[in-house]
Subunit: 497 residues, 2 copies
């Protein structure tokens, strides 16, 4: 008992110290607060990456294929919406780590959260959250994830990344479907035994419907729902699940209303046909997974009418409606969730998230809760240290009305892109987007690739999607000033073609 | 340019401050250094969880199914090998978050790494590592993962978790197999086009061989290789891949040498038969995935002879030999990788890791490097902040010869378990293990469940595996003193039956 008291005294003392406000020296705190973004990009090398980046790329290539590397980043020097590479180039970042940086680099609220002594234990003791949660887990979930839960989705399952979020969302659809088929009865011993052998009835023939051009991840289940590019899929065995067309509209939308409405209806009809076909062939569709805007497949948007139709169609057919908001979630479209733009009569069944949310997972309607523990489970189930950071991100979004800002900045940005499109019709078409989640098509892939390269040399870090699309993915602190820099540099690039 | 200079001045100043040694106040540093584990466990409630834990569990259950929760943990108060719950119970931890805590709770070297100012940027700016790596990535990989790479495996792919590690290892086997089939030719347009539709030849009929009782994760690909318990698999569609028997030995091993050798041979014969069968039916086996000790399926061990046979058999058949060390890796068996116990003639092709390694991933032989970028890819590809912590873990293992300690402690622990087995033959059998990765079977599941419950009430936090096994999974700082506490409490529990 003496040692226990000793432990208690020590840990109380430890905790007392942890109650101090911040681990950072005062000088550092004021220094961070005074950090400012540069006014403009600054490119100092003639190639991207520059000589130091090229050398590092060769060095990395000794231990892992490095040909996908765009450049090496100095994350200590990157600030806000500006990313700095090892050669000293300063880029305005309109790609934000494939849309995964919520507030910009080295944001003070994140530095504060990461250095707050009371969070140290969370950063060094990663728990098995499903069996040994930290004492404040419920509180933390309510302050972070639950505080931004899509309307009607009152429960949440955390995961380590977007792929695992999708994989388990698909499983949740299958559990829900089979629970209904079983009419509440427990599984038979035949089901239990055959499941271990990967055979029906325990491992049943069920399918998930996905869309041409869709992207949901690269693990086997998610990859069977991904159809954006062969590079992701070649040589990997797949489930033979149904694949429906995703709407492809003519732009500007307001000049092609009737044609685009017909596109929606054609897609909905084909989805119904596939659901019927797969039901007849004994591999019923349990769920349908769809992106509000196909982020990897070329920034293809579905209309609110299309998605309202999809909600009705899935409800009528008893198919789970899974909206994959891994890329669209957490504000870039000007609403926290992109599906809020649709005015659905009833909410989606499941909404997946990751990227800007800093950890993966999915929200779900209560009827998608598994009937037993360990059906959706793994060792970590995410990482509470990411919840700490997410809580700071959400507070910052609220305190500074960042989504309102993104909606306004987005209008300005997309208007500017439309003007460039009008100015350069030989190169650009179909400028589009919601908030700053924006895109414009080049007339062919070669032009697009040239555009991305020259934008970099002009100080804009950006990326593509689909075959010939430039995708804009900004942080939530991206503002009019940033948009103007981008538009000006983009104009400058095209003016020389 | 003025602003750029200003930025540079500010960031230099920021970096100067970041060069200070530690963010922690001196008082806290000395306090952490003086923290000591309690001498013994102390249980103060009559149920586990106690009243506060029960209340928290109900509260968590409002937002996610909480029936799997064992108890809520006070991670600030947990120290070393002792875990403290919200009701003030202090347990000796022989489960270590399902084997995922390398050094114990709140270990000083981890606190130091997490609060080192020079790591702040790594904790707050999670990059898309595959395209925009931090400037020091190669260095960090060499100081952490590469410094413990299994012999012969010179490359490494990081991932966020164990499931993604396995999923991508399986894909790597398929890429490698098809690359060979293609004899170096590029994929045909038919392959590229059909892959997008989940159809052969682009999404070919290929299989992965796995083992009865094996566990590799719960995502669709990994789950098709998992066969430990129906709860993981029920209702989830599976690939119809071959499943081989895993050796099940008689204990003690030295008294059943001949029988056990015959078991090995029977298993190897059946594996060869399955490879032939799947080749004939047009769904060839590209890879085989196996645990050195089946961690979830009941702590079943394969012998070094079995694994040497498996290495030969896979090489002969051109099948990738994937050793899943997610649970056995990072030292608990007394060697850094469990497969080091086998004295293989040539190394495995791929070794997966996660858990104690703090992030997921796999090591591989150079011929398993994909031929193009983005075939093995996702947004995060892990998390460099976990590499920072892993580097500290590996240094601590080396500086203090922790693996030697684990080997010795393990001998002491398993000897002690054998003595208990001899003392309580009505309850226990087959005590076994390597290092402190140890297990003992109860004669039936009811006794095992009762044992785990009563061990908790006696201050030992532990868990089960398979149907009737108690699995011991300790940190690497677990020593003889801890083993004696466990053995004493275990004896105490059984003496009252």
């Amino acid at each position: 008992m003496h040692r226990i008291r000793n432990l208690s005294r020590l840990t109380n003392s430890f905790q007392g110290l942890l109650n101090s406000k911040c681990l950072l020296p005062n000088r550092l705190v004021s220094c961070i607060a005074s950090l400012e973004e540069p006014k403009r990009p600054n490119v100092v090398t003639t190639t991207i990456p520059g000589p130091q980046g090229i050398a590092l790329k060769e060095s990395l290539n000794q231990i892992v294929l490095s040909s996908g590397v765009m450049f090496f980043v100095d994350y200590e020097k990157s600030i806000g919406n500006f990313i700095v590479d090892v050669d000293g180039n300063v880029f305005l970042d309109v790609y934000s780590q494939i849309s995964s940086i919520p507030l910009g680099y080295n944001h003070p609220v994140l530095i504060k959260a990461a250095t707050d002594p009371k969070n140290v234990a969370t950063f060094v003791n990663r728990p098995a959250m499903g069996i040994l949660p930290p004492r404040d887990l419920t509180e933390r979930l309510r302050a972070s994830l639950l505080s931004v839960a899509p309307k009607g989705l009152t429960e949440v399952q955390t995961m380590a990344c977007g792929s695992c979020a999708v994989e388990n969302a698909l499983k949740a659809a299958c559990f829900w479907y089979q629970h209904r088929e079983r009419k509440g009865s427990p599984p038979t011993s035949e089901e239990l035994d055959s499941s271990l052998l990967n055979m029906p009835p325990g491992s049943p023939k069920l399918s998930i419907l996905s869309f041409k051009g869709g992207f949901h991840g690269r693990t086997f289940g998610a990859l069977s729902c991904t159809h954006s590019k062969p590079i992701h899929k070649l040589d990997v065995p797949s489930f033979e699940w149904p694949i429906a067309p995703y709407p492809r509209y003519k732009y500007p939308l307001d000049k092609h209303t009737e044609e685009n409405r017909a596109v929606d209806q054609t897609c909905l009809n084909e989805i119904q046909r596939l659901i019927d076909e797969y039901s007849e062939k004994g591999c019923p569709v349990t769920g349908l997974i769809v992106e509000p805007i196909q982020g990897e497949g070329g920034d293809n948007e579905g209309s609110p009418e299309f998605f309202r139709g999809l909600r009705k169609l899935t409800a009528k057919n008893g198919v789970a409606f899974i909206v994959d908001e891994v890329q669209t979630g957490c504000g870039p479209t000007g609403k926290f969730w992109c599906h809020e733009h649709w005015n659905l009569e009833s909410p989606p069944d499941i909404v997946t998230f990751s990227k800007k949310m800093l950890l993966g997972g999915y929200f779900y309607r209560p009827e998608f809760r598994p009937d037993q523990a360990f059906r959706v489970f793994n060792t970590w189930l995410g990482d509470p240290s990411k919840l700490v950071l997410l809580e700071a991100v959400i507070k910052e979004i609220r305190d500074n009305n960042l989504l309102e800002g993104i909606a306004k900045t987005g209008d300005h940005l997309i208007n500017g892109m439309r003007k460039l499109q009008a100015k350069y019709p030989k190169y650009l078409e179909s400028a589009r987007g919601r908030g700053t989640y924006a895109a414009v098509d080049f007339l062919n892939p070669t032009l697009r690739d040239r555009g991305i390269k020259e934008l970099h040399l002009n100080g804009i870090h950006c990326g593509g999607s689909g075959e010939r699309t430039l995708r804009i993915r900004t942080t939530l602190t991206f503002n009019k000033k940033h948009a103007d820099i981008f538009l000006d540099r983009f104009d400058n690039v095209l003016s020389k073609w």
